[in-house]
Every structure is written in structure tokens, then in C-alpha cells.
Amino acid sequence: MAATGLSTGPGQAGPGQLPGMAGPAGAAPGAWAGSAALGRLWRAVRSNRKAAVGAAILAVFCVLAAVPGLIAHDNPEADAYPRSLGPSAQHLLGTTAYGQDIFAQAVWGARETLIIALVSGVISTVLSAVMGIAAAYLGGLWDGGLNLITDILLVIPTFPLLIVLVAYLPNGGLVPLIAVLVITGYSYGARQLRAQALSMRDRDFLEAARVRGERRLYIVFVEIIPALTSLIVATFLGTAVYNVLAAAGLQFIGFGDPNSLSWGTMLYWAENNAALQTGQYLWAIVPGACIALLGAAFALLNYAFDEIGNPALRPVRKYRTRHDA
């Protein structure tokens, strides 16, 4: 499918490690295919158990992020309570060595983590689509140039590059973090979308649009992009999981804003106060479990869409052949 010789496999660091990138779905062509594909996605979410569980977890976290004050009445800030308390009725998950309520911190932390995942996921997906589709559609020198940039970014190890970039940035907040995640994370999706768009270039429905005399922009936005919906969704979900983990990792090693309320930052302070060695287990367990749950929500959705796109991977009922006996 891809015209260049770069193989990707499970060892590839970056968003490529995630499921859901295996096979793009062959969407029906045409402008109406966009809404049809979205409708199909919605039906799929309702009928596929994995997708339903993923969507439910994501919805819960969205609620937490939107109205944290309603769910956690306690103050997440430092020194609000006695230090290092165990779990109790007042403090469901206890308090940290700084006197913060762990439950409140976890609830408030959802906001920043979700913002990072969604914003960086959306921007990288858009960048992937623009770079990939432009390269495929414009062809020639454009294709060569854009593709070279993408290929280079694809093979440079992502996490070390993230670390180096962040190392040179003065104690930045969210914006540099998201920018860096986008730059390092868009390439895998761009490559996949380019390959898929290339394979569509000579299909009849695009030929028909050209013969009708449609403008290029019209063809790209109304004909090509809708036909790529499932792959774009898969790209977004894969990038979102990766960005949740990468951002948490960066914050954990202290490259985030240490005063921000997020799960990665919670883990950073827990590690710095030797929470595991001093018996304050919940301080380290809770934020990590939240990250894992959010990541699992995206991964479940991704996996479900993969099954929808590639019927061969759907679970089958157990069957017996004579060879098993």
C-alpha cells in the first residue's frame, strides 16, 4: 500500500505502537459517505461492547473535567488539611505529604490531562491530514518534500526528541508541551493517511468529480476527507492515547509545570516525596490508575474501531475443526 520502503512494526516507538492503526477501513466514496460513516461510527459505539465501555469511561472523565468542584468538595491546593492522612470519611483517599486531598487532586487533575489529550490529539490529527492528503493529492515535488519531512520526524525517536525539545524550553506551561507533542506525534498518521489517499487517487468517484469540473479544494474537502473518516478517527484515538502517556511521562520526570493540577504532576510529587517508600501508597496509585483508565478508554475505542474497519479481526464464536481435535 505504501509507496516508500519504511516498515512500521510493533517495535516502533510512537503512536504506531497502538492498536487501531492496522488497517484503514474502506469507506464508501462520495460526499454523503461522511455522514454515513459518522452514523456508522455511532451505531458501532452502541453495538460494540469495547467501544461502549471506552466511551463510558471517557464520558465520566469529561464530567470530572467540566465540573470538578461539584464532585470533589475538598480543596486540591496545598496545606489545606493535615498532612499524610490515611483514607477516611472526610478524605476518601487520604491526603498527601503537603496536606492536599488526594481525591480532590485526582478529580481536578482530569481537566489538564484531558485538555492535553484532546487538544494535542486534534491538532496533530489535523496536521496529519493536511500533510498526508496534500502530499498525496498534489504529488510531484510537493509529495517528495512533505513526505521527506514526515519520514524524518517518523524515524527520530519520539520520546528522546520530546525530552531534548522540552529541555531547551524555559519552564513552559501547556502551550509548549502541546506544541512539542504535536510536532513529534503527527508523522505516523500523516504517513497512513497519505498512503490511503494515494490509493484513492485514481478511483472513479474522484475522476467523476474532476470531469464535473469541481475545484481542487472541493475535491479534497468534500470527496477525499469524508472517505477517510474512519482512518482519521483511528489516527486521532491512537495519538490521544500516546499523548496522554507521553505528557504524563514528561510531567512525571519534572518537565511540566510543577504547580499545575494534573495526574502526571501528582506522580512527580509522589515520587519526589518517596511516597512508595513511606507508606503513602494511594498518592502514587491513584493518579497512575487514572492515567491508565483514560488511556484504556481511548485504546478501547481505537480497538473497537479497528474491528469495525477490519471485519477479519472481529471476535468469532468458538468453533471446532477436526484439526483441533
Binding site: G5, G11, I156, L276, L294, Y303, A312, Y319
Partner: protein, 327 residues
């Protein structure tokens, strides 16, 4: 042949891009991090070391960017990476040399293990489609792929080190020992490497299983499998010599590539366990604003990956004639 040359050209271009990135980043960044770092280290390291940094990063120099760039490329080509500030006064190349064996040993062995185990489990999962193994693997993979590496490492420390005192929580070998080939030292190294290795294995094995299973599922639907069954060949023979043999290609090229990622593969795990490998050193370098060491490590990591990708591409082309014809 043309294919190999094209890949080689890509290798050179990417390497050049990385070198240039390394050169440009410290000179472009707002707030000039180098100057800030120099001020911090002033009086703490020798004037010669500071002078070396000034030269390397273009602070207070009247040389033009082009001259600096040419000199920089020359330095990189001759392995002159400068002086490390983390380990005061030692040349960067020396510092890196001490870290590489630890990473190669820990992550290298774990990568091979994960590949072999993951591929086998994937083969079995696809062969017994719908069996118990196939039923539990995908959901388990979804969950492990979403858990942060470093958090698994922390939980392993919590369980096996803080609670049960079975394994040490940090370091590469007991402080009381000096490196030698004695039984005591080797067993200590294995004991210290056990938990980090588990953390890497848990998070990396899923990818191998899933890729192998999914490719194998596709291959099992091919006509030649039905043919093999019709001939009455034994189950294991079909599984390994007809199905797995044809399905292993994506995993094999992925494996070749992941060997390149061994050097950088487990930065956060090394960090959590204070394991003295390349990843831990990279973070140390960043935290100490030891930019010379950081740049050299980043270059090393990139070169390792580039070489592995080159080899993986060539191996794929040799093993699978279709990839050659497609071009």
C-alpha cells in the same frame, strides 16, 4: 540495489537533519538556555570547561554561524562531543561508554524475550481462534498498552520491594560489590535487573502478540492453508511451517527496528529504578543542564534507530520479494 541506495540516501539525509537540529536548537531557543546554564556553572567548573561549552554552543563568539556549523560537523564526525558537566570534567564519549553496556544488557535481553514470547503467544492465539487465550489477550493488551511504563515500574517496586523485600528498588548492583566476573557480582546484577526487566516486558509484549495474531488470522484464511489441511498435514506443522512462517514478516521487521530502539527504549523505567543506563543518563544530563552530554546521547539514540531501520528495510526486501516489486 537501487532500493538499498535510496534507503542509504534517506539515512544520510535524516542523520544530517538530526545533526542540524542539535546545532540549531540551543541557538534558536528563546531565553538562551545556554547562557543561563553558564551563569549557573560559573565558578563550579574549570574555566577550560566553560570555554569548551562557549565554543560548542556559540556563546560569546565572533565566528559566523557557518563557521560554527562546519566546526560542529567536524567535531561530531571525529567523535569529539565535548566535556560532560554531570561527571565533572570527563569527556562525554567516556561517560556514554560507561552507560551503554547497562542499557544493552537490560533492554536488549528484554526486547529479545518480549519478541520471542509475544510472537509465540500470538501464533497460539490466532491458531485457537476464539479459545481462552484469544479471549483474554486483546483486552489485556488494551489495558497494558494504556498504562504508563513508569507507573508499572513504580507498582512493581511497591509490591516486590517495599512490601515483600524480594528485589532491590534501585541501582544496577549491590554497593558493596566491585564489578568483576565473580558469581556474587553477576547474580547481583541479575537480581537488580529483574524488576526493571519485568516492567519493560509487561508493557512491550502486547504489541508483538497483537501484530502476530492479526497477521496470522489473515494468513489462516488463505487457500494454501486449506490445501495443507486437505493434504492431512498435522496441526503443528500447518501452524508453524505454513501459517506462522508467512505471517511473521511484520513482526520480524518490527523486531529488527526495535533493536534500534533498545538504546532509548526504556528511559522512564531506567529513571524509576535509577538504573545507570543511557536513558537515565539522558535525564540526568537534562536536569543538570549538561547540554553537551544531552546532545551526544540524542545523537547516539538516533543513529542506533537509523541503522536498525536501514537493516530492517533491507531484511524485509530480502525476505519478501513483493516489497521489491511494488516499487
Amino acid at each position: 540495489m537501487r532500493f538499498a541506495l535510496r534507503r542509504l540516501a534517506f539515512f544520510v539525509v535524516t542523520l544530517w537533519a538530526c545533526l542540524t537540529l542539535n546545532f540549531m536548537l540551543p541557538r534558536m531557543m528563546p531565553g538562551s538556555p545556554i547562557t543561563a546554564m553558564m551563569a549557573k556553572y560559573h565558578g563550579r567548573v574549570t574555566p577550560q570547561a566553560l570555554q569548551a561549552i562557549e565554543n560548542a554552543f556559540g556563546v560569546d563568539t565572533h565566528a559566523s554561524l557557518v563557521t560554527q556549523y562546519v566546526r560542529y560537523l567536524g567535531d561530531m564526525a571525529t567523535g569529539n562531543f565535548g566535556i560532560s558537566l554531570t561527571v565533572t570534567g570527563e569527556p562525554v564519549s567516556q561517560v556514554i561508554k560507561s552507560a551503554i553496556p547497562w542499557t544493552l544488557g537490560l533492554v536488549g535481553v528484554t526486547t529479545v524475550l518480549a519478541f520471542v514470547l509475544g510472537t509465540l503467544i500470538g501464533i497460539l492465539g490466532a491458531w485457537r481462534r476464539g479459545g481462552w487465550l484469544d479471549g483474554i489477550l486483546p483486552p489485556v493488551f488494551v489495558i497494558t498498552s494504556a498504562i504508563p511504563f513508569f507507573w508499572i515500574a513504580m507498582m512493581l517496586i511497591l509490591l516486590f520491594s517495599s512490601q515483600f523485600h524480594l528485589f532491590p528498588p534501585a541501582g544496577a548492583y549491590a554497593d558493596t560489590l566491585t564489578p568483576s566476573l565473580s558469581w556474587a557480582f553477576v547474580s547481583s546484577v541479575v537480581r537488580y535487573a529483574f524488576l526493571p526487566a519485568c516492567a519493560i516486558l509487561i508493557t512491550s509484549i502486547g504489541g508483538w502478540i497483537l501484530t502476530m495474531r492479526n497477521t496470522m488470522v489473515t494468513v489462516l484464511a488463505e487457500d494454501y492453508i486449506r490445501m495443507a489441511r486437505a493434504k492431512g498435514l498435522s496441526g503443528p506443522r500447518i501452524m508453524f511451517w505454513y501459517a506462522a512462517r508467512n505471517a511473521i514478516l511484520p513482526n520480524l521487521s518490527g523486531f529488527a527496528m526495535s533493536l534500534g530502539f533498545v538504546v532509548s527504549g526504556a528511559i522512564l523505567v531506567e529513571y524509576v529504578f535509577s538504573y545507570p543506563g543511557v536513558g537515565y543518563m539522558l535525564l540526568q544530563a537534562v536536569q543538570n543542564e549538561d547540554y553537551a552530554l544531552m546532545q551526544a546521547l540524542f545523537l547516539l539514540i538516533t543513529v542506533a534507530v537509523l541503522v536498525a531501520i536501514l537493516l530492517a528495510d533491507i531484511a524485509t526486501a530480502l525476505l519478501d520479494p513483493r516489497t521489491r516489486a511494488a516499487r
